[in-house]
């Protein structure tokens, strides 16, 4: 299987679907920019031309309505935002239109579009350019929301999103852009709405989202050395959440930790723990726990920014606390923190 970077995997998903389906096109602000959206559109403008790589003006709200309308007429547009933080600007079109269209008219039209946003974490981007917003995006019914955790996800979820007949919000973390992995060729799909058991285990269920998947895998590895068997679930889709897979796992392990790269109270971590508490209370041997961002925006200063983001160490602590009531299991976790290497300094 070809090995490619996360960004190349996204590019591959675009290229394969655009070659196979004339109704697929890309639209967004700055997408004909030579930097090609962090490389994820490399060469596509050249290959598919102005007709299918459509530069938009700075009018994200209009572009969202535009995208969704083209979808109802049989096209499969992908609207691309350099920053996921622009989604709130478009939320009337997303929540009130795109996400309600099918229901409101009795399911007469397909709404086959994708809205992609990129998380800008790192390099002192500050509060307005570092949000994750997958919980926010999932909070109003009517759209699907996916968050890829690795190169394989990046391609498989994008292909599925493009070929889905319902609107899909696709949120990728710039943070993961340089990660590489094996990625199947062709129109490789990963089912939307299904979580992926990345590592089997019997002591505790660790559900992780996006960049927390890699942290959780590191944590599980370290914990294995101390005799703890952790089942790591890569959530992949945050709306609809695959509660079945999670509950089946908790019924086996009896313990639950959710690791999310989002705020604590209204996001995926709450949604999962709520559902498990309601539906699998009897299976839980201990209180469930979550590892999330603190309950406030992220600071710009690199003097304190790293302490904002939970990493493998915090996951290990949370798991240890649940399993044994103390955190002092493991120290010296290698820092997978990457934003401060200086690779993420632009373009804006």
């Amino acid at each position: 299987m070809p090995v490619m970077k996360f960004t190349e995997a996204i590019r591959d998903a675009y290229a394969e679907t655009m070659r196979a389906y004339p109704e697929v096109f890309l639209v967004g602000v700055g997408i004909i920019d030579p930097k090609a959206v962090f490389g994820t559109l490399d060469g596509l403008h050249k290959e598919f031309g102005d007709e299918r790589v459509v530069e938009g003006p700075l009018a994200e709200q209009m572009l969202t309505g535009f995208t969704f309308s083209a979808a109802t007429l049989g096209l499969r547009p992908v609207l691309i935002h350099h920053r996921v933080d622009f989604l709130p600007l478009t939320f009337d079109q997303i929540a009130n239109h795109m996400g309600k269209w099918s229901y409101m008219f009795g399911a007469q039209q397909k709404v086959s579009c994708v809205v992609r946003g990129i998380v800008g974490r790192g390099w002192g981007n500050g509060p307005q350019h570092t949000q994750s917003l997958h919980g926010f995006s999932a909070s109003i019914p009517g759209v699907k929301v996916v968050v890829p955790a690795n190169a394989e996800d990046a391609k498989g979820l994008m292909v599925s999103a493009i070929l889905d007949d319902e609107p899909v919000i696709y949120i990728d973390h710039r943070w993961l852009h340089s990660d590489a992995g094996e990625v199947p060729a062709g129109l490789f799909q990963i089912p939307i709405g299904k979580a992926h058991v990345m590592r089997e285990g019997k002591d505790l269920t660790l559900v992780a989202v996006g960049p927390m998947v890699q942290e959780s895998m590191v944590a599980a590895e370290k914990l294995a050395a101390t005799g703890k068997s952790i089942e790591v679930i890569n959530l992949r889709t945050v709306r609809p959440i695959d509660f079945d897979t999670i509950i089946a796992s908790v019924e086996k392990t009896g313990h639950l930790v959710v690791a999310d790269s989002d705020w604590p109270h209204f996001g995926v971590a709450s949604a999962i723990i709520n559902q498990v508490a309601q539906k699998a209370f009897g299976a839980l041997k201990k209180a469930p726990s979550s590892v999330t961002w603190p309950n406030h925006p992220v600071p710009a200063s690199y003097g304190i920014e790293p302490s904002y983001y939970p990493m493998a160490k915090q996951v290990i602590d949370a798991v240890s606390l649940v399993l044994s009531g103390e955190t002092n299991g493991i120290h010296h976790v290698s820092k997978t923190e990457k934003s401060h290497s200086g690779t993420h300094s632009g373009p804006f």
């Binding site: 096109f25 007709e51 459509v54 938009g56 003006p57 009018a59 709200q61 209009m62 572009l63 969202t64 309505g65 535009f66 995208t67 969704f68 309308s69 083209a70 109802t72 007429l73 049989g74 096209l75 009337d92 079109q93 009130n96 239109h97 996400g99 269209w101 099918s102 229901y103 409101m104 008219f105 009795g106 399911a107 007469q108 039209q109 019914p141 009517g142 759209v143 699907k144 007949d165 319902e166 609107p167 609809p240």
Partner: protein, 319 residues
């Protein structure tokens, strides 16, 4: 002579279209107090010439995106009357199967695309549709219809500018009735004509008497030809007047923001009366009778039709 006939045919069809809208709206207003249509209604009474004039210049393949005040647009584009009344009654046989209500009408068979309750919300949808026509190398046009207040929303600028930049086959129809709910336009907009503001986005822009169906049709016809030939979008401001209250079947003069005299003065410019001058009595009587019959059938059918049985529309997947 051919021209005169053509003109006579045009006027007849404009009259038939406008009259049908008027009679349907009157019937809804009359029946509404019975409480069987539990859905907000925004009647089009007094503004019929616009939808009639615009749609007379379109084919079935052209698409219309309108708003919550859309009974008239739906009918002028050829939407199925029975299914519209069923929708107002909340019935499963409604055009939106009962899930949408009065503000969300649709009839895809005739290019009447779904409408929205958010002011200006559908303008980008028309732009997306116009883009799609071009993408598919079809020569159809997309119409966006909206009120004067919709031009206050940022989406107005964003939609016009993109259509203009890309020379998309979109036609923007502003129904300027000088009102947003019960607020006069002078409290909302600087004193500068809307069509001139629109011209600033680099597209063709004209103003017409929106109570003159022929004038609307003619402006529209030019715009349609331009759009089909790849000449890009047009903005048409139609000056008109809302006769009834914003939402509901009654007059709103008692609220005090406008006078009965003003309403009466506009009634003299009634679009249907103006067309009627060119219509012979027999034609008129025939049309009235036919409409009455169809309206009666529609209301009787709606009363008998079943409610939806599920909270989830059949085929709806996104849960």
């Amino acid at each position: 002579m051919g021209d005169r006939n053509k003109n006579q045919d045009l006027i007849r069809s404009l009259y038939a279209s406008a009259l049908r809208i008027r009679m349907v709206e009157d019937a809804i207003a009359k029946e509404y107090p019975k409480g069987e249509m539990k859905t907000p209604i925004h009647l089009y009474t007094g503004e019929e010439a616009i939808a009639a004039g615009v749609c007379a210049a379109l084919t079935k393949e052209d698409v219309v995106y309108a708003y919550y005040r859309s009974h008239g647009w739906y009918l002028a584009k050829g939407g199925n009357l029975n299914r519209m009344i069923d929708e107002l009654f909340g019935k499963a046989t409604g055009c939106s199967k009962g899930y949408g209500g009065s503000m969300h009408l649709i009839d895809l068979d005739v290019g009447f695309q779904g409408t929205t309750a958010l002011v200006a919300g559908a303008m980008p949808h028309a732009v997306g549709a116009a883009f799609t026509m071009k993408y598919k190398k079809q020569h159809h046009v997309a119409i966006s219809a909206f009120g004067d207040a919709a031009t206050e929303e940022g989406l107005f600028q964003e939609s016009l500018m993109f259509a203009s930049l890309r020379k998309l086959p979109a036609i923007f129809i502003c129904e300027n009735n000088g009102l947003a709910t019960n607020t006069l336009i002078q409290y909302r907009q600087p004193d500068y004509p809307i069509y001139k503001r629109a011209a600033g986005f680099g597209l063709e822009s004209v103003q017409v008497d929106g109570n003159d169906a022929v004038a609307v049709y003619e402006a529209m016809n030019e715009a349609v030809i331009r759009a089909r030939e790849g000449g890009g979008p047009t903005f048409i401001e139609c000056l008109t007047y809302r006769v009834l209250e914003h939402c509901g079947p009654n007059s709103d003069v008692s609220l005090g923001f406008r006078t009965q005299e003003e309403v009466d003065a506009w009634k003299k410019r009634d679009p249907i009366v103006r067309l009627e001058q060119h219509i012979d009595a027999e034609t008129k009587a025939q049309l009235i009778e036919q409409n009455q019959r169809e309206i009666q059938v529609a209301f009787e059918g709606a009363r008998r039709a079943p409610f939806p049985t599920s909270l989830i529309p059949e085929g709806y997947q996104c849960l």
